[in-house]
């Protein structure tokens, strides 16, 4: 007989889950595995709300299995470690991001590129090796293999640091891989949300000139005055963009836009040999014109969060440069309203759930 979510595994757990494509979250009792030899158990303090959570809740990508507890920007405190765990101790502040397992044997895993492993186990909505499905950080605790646990820098605020575990690495990794780190070069950041605003912060730390490309004119003031962007381009009028002085001026663009959009206006903003890197995952295809690629030797590349080693490097970089996200802290019972607002880009710039203060303790 099939076991219920509460009894599948030995440890009782509690979180909020969605049970259908409405994506509405509600309290949910489930269970987690015992802490094994290689595992770390952490009590979850904070969890960032990523747009991927919303895509998954609504089954935008077509592979959601309900009920699903989302959340992959997890910050917590270690409460238990397995015998083989040497790098963490009880009481440590740690983070967990987008994956909790990978094959460890393929070329990608061996090169610390677990995000490109063909057999990844995501923090939520993924089949795990014991036949159960992973459930994410909108919950009171989680048990994770030590390899996929990150050390959280001492000086970073735990709440504002949570979004770094997905948003942070998702922009940091391509900025390094595609060479967007040369001081003085010009970066366009398309989309000013969770990913976009962190990209600006990294870009300024690298010494880049930054132009924000956004459909929300009301974000301009903040982008320039508070986030430090050098200029702002409104993208809702493609003709105006085409006529602007910004055409052909950018060395690279990081495209964080989560909605379906055409790449035509963005490619026009790139210089010769320019690179457009897309990190968002809209649920329908993008429109890619080939002529500008050929005529200007431009390229469009993708990037998918990042490996664990690089995530640690990114966190340490943030610790060194005091970079964390701009957040709106919410209690768990506010989550459905937050998701509504997120779907309308109405957040500056990441919701973070104050998990510890939303639930009774472990």
């Amino acid at each position: 007989m099939a076991k219920s979510p509460q009894t599948q595994l030995p440890l009782k757990a509690f979180g909020w889950a969605a049970s259908d494509t409405s994506g509405i979250l509600a309290p949910f009792h489930f269970s987690r595995r015992e802490n094994g030899q290689n595992d770390v158990t952490l009590q979850i303090l904070y969890c960032g709300v990523c747009h991927s959570d919303l895509h998954t809740l609504k089954n935008d990508w077509g592979f959601t299995t309900y009920p699903v507890v989302p959340g992959h920007e997890i910050v917590g405190v270690v409460t238990k470690i397995g015998n083989n765990v040497k790098n963490f101790k009880v009481g440590d502040k740690v983070g967990v991001g987008v994956i909790v397992e990978s094959c460890k044997e393929c070329e990608c895993c061996q090169q610390d590129l677990e995000s490109y492993c063909p057999k990844p186990v995501f923090t939520y909505n993924s089949p795990y090796y014991d036949g159960t499905r992973t459930q994410g950080g909108y919950s009171n605790f989680v048990v994770v293999h030590q390899r996929y646990v990150l050390r959280f820098p001492e000086n970073l605020p735990l709440d504002a640091g949570a979004p770094l575990l997905c948003a942070g690495i998702t922009v940091y990794s391509p900025m390094k891989y595609y060479g967007m780190t040369e001081a003085g070069k010009h970066l366009g950041v398309a989309g000013l949300g969770g990913l976009g605003h962190v990209a600006i912060k990294f870009a300024k730390a690298f010494g880049l000139k930054v132009t924000v490309i956004s459909s929300s004119p009301n974000k301009e003031d903040e982008a320039i005055k508070r986030l430090g962007a050098d200029s702002f381009l409104v993208s809702s009028d493609p003709a105006k963009m085409k006529a602007s002085a910004a055409m052909g001026t950018m060395d690279y663009i990081i495209d964080t836009i989560s909605a379906v959009h055409s790449l035509i206006p963005l490619l026009g903003l790139l210089k010769l040999n320019g690179k457009l890197v897309t990190v968002g995952l809209p649920n329908k295809p993008l429109e890619l014109p080939i002529f500008p690629l050929v005529a200007g030797r431009k390229l469009v590349g993708g990037s998918n969060f990042g490996g664990i080693k690089e995530t640690q490097e990114m966190l340490d970089f943030c610790g060194k440069h005091n970079i964390s996200a701009d957040i709106e802290l919410i209690k768990m019972d506010h989550i459905n309203t937050a998701m509504e607002r997120l779907s309308k880009s109405d957040v500056k710039y990441r919701f973070v759930i104050d998990v510890a203060n939303s639930f009774s303790s472990l």
């Binding site: 010769l272 080939i290 690629l293 030797r297 469009v300 590349g301 993708g302």
Partner: protein, 377 residues
């Protein structure tokens, strides 16, 4: 008053040109399809400039027929200036050099490709990327610095600025050298730029025409394993036996495509018709690169997921700079990379271009200018 070709310049030349009857035809009938277009090149006298101090004058011996010639004749890019003497895969022998010319002397075997001028002062020019200079001047049907129109290689002679002339190495016969000047550099440049020139890589080549067959040969010479992806099963034997491709996949056959999935470090895509990118992206390994050389008219669909999972890249490339063109020729000579050509007399050019429209050539026509281009009375 517009000057006539006959009076602008002192040096007389003879070639074959297309008048703008096509444009007239189009504006009358509003039709652009290849069925209604009749290739109609015919004899044409014109004039070019005196050999300036930095110029190299040469008699043309061979000229390749590039598909771009057809695009230009049909004014598909909207920038054609008629009458057009096409041809930008030009090989010949130097007859005169200007007083300040350093690299060439009379009797040298030389070539001219797609460009005869650029601004010389922008960043692209400084980086030996004249092909990306915003003021780059095409070898034919373009406005030169003196305001006159350039004429291409379907003619008996030419004069060009030394900077835009390349030496044809001894190891390559002139007829084989001609297609390298466009098709050759167009595939060589991206193989280098996108890091697809390392021995042991596994590369895919989409489309087995002028560009495609050159891509196979250069890739093999660089030490790659090559898989050809084509819609024409009848090209398989030649691809493997003559060109050295390691395998051949028919793109419509799902099981053949499935067998190549996730195995390619890079793909050189030479097809300019609209075609789906997703199956090609699926053939790439993670961190693989899809390089587009043809430019389909309409934008293509690109699911973000196809790029993200595997951190893949879609890029483009267009011909190459002069320095790299010379490097490519020297490489081709050293490694015996030569195109497969069908040498034709100039009288056959209209038929050849009509065959080219249907893809009926193995794999590049080259006009034997030296022996067949003579003015009839």
């Amino acid at each position: 008053m517009a000057s006539q070709p006959e009076t602008e310049h002192p040096k007389k030349a003879f070639g074959w040109a297309a008048r703008d009857t096509f444009t007239q035809n189009y504006s009358m009938h509003g039709t652009h399809d290849s069925q209604s277009y009749v290739v109609d090149l015919s004899q044409f006298f014109f004039f070019f400039r005196e050999t300036g101090e930095k110029d190299v004058a040469f008699k043309i011996q061979y000229c390749g027929i590039c598909h771009s010639d057809l695009h230009m004749l049909k004014n598909e890019w909207g920038n054609s200036a008629y009458p057009i003497v096409p041809g930008h895969e030009i090989a010949g022998v130097v007859t005169e050099v200007g007083s300040k010319v350093q690299k060439f002397k009379v009797g040298d075997k030389v070539g001219v490709g797609c460009m005869v001028g650029s601004c010389g002062s922008c960043q692209s020019c400084a980086d030996d990327l004249e092909n990306y200079c915003p003021k780059m001047i095409l070898t034919y049907s373009a406005k030169y610095k003196d305001g006159t129109i350039t004429y291409g290689g379907y003619s008996d002679s030419m004069v060009a600025d030394e900077h835009f002339v390349v030496r044809i190495p001894d190891g390559i016969p002139l007829d084989a050298a001609a297609p390298l000047l466009c098709a050759g550099i167009t595939v060589y440049s991206p193989l280098k730029y996108y890091g697809l020139d390392k021995p042991g890589q596994h590369l895919g080549v989409v489309g087995l025409g002028g560009l495609g067959h050159m891509a196979v040969k250069f890739a093999k010479a660089l030490g790659a394993k090559v898989t050809v992806i084509s819609t024409s099963p009848n090209k398989k034997k030649e691809a493997i036996e003559n060109m050295g491709a390691d395998s051949f996949v028919v793109s419509r056959e799902q099981d053949q495509m499935q067998a190549v999935k996730g195995t390619l470090d890079g793909i050189i895509d030479t097809v300019s018709a609209v075609h789906p990118l997703v199956p090609l992206l699926g053939l790439l390994k993670s961190h693989g690169k899809l390089v587009m050389l043809g430019a389909p008219e309409k934008p293509l669909e690109l699911p973000a997921f196809s790029l993200l999972s595997g951190r893949k890249v879609v890029g483009g490339s267009a011909i190459g700079g002069l320095k790299e063109t010379q490097e490519m020729l020297d490489f081709a000579a050293k490694h015996g990379v030569k195109p497969d050509i069908e040498v034709i007399p100039i009288d056959y050019v209209n038929t050849a271009m009509e065959r080219l429209l249907k893809g009926d050539v193995k794999y590049r026509f080259v006009i034997d200018i030296e022996n067949t281009l003579k003015a009839s009375s």
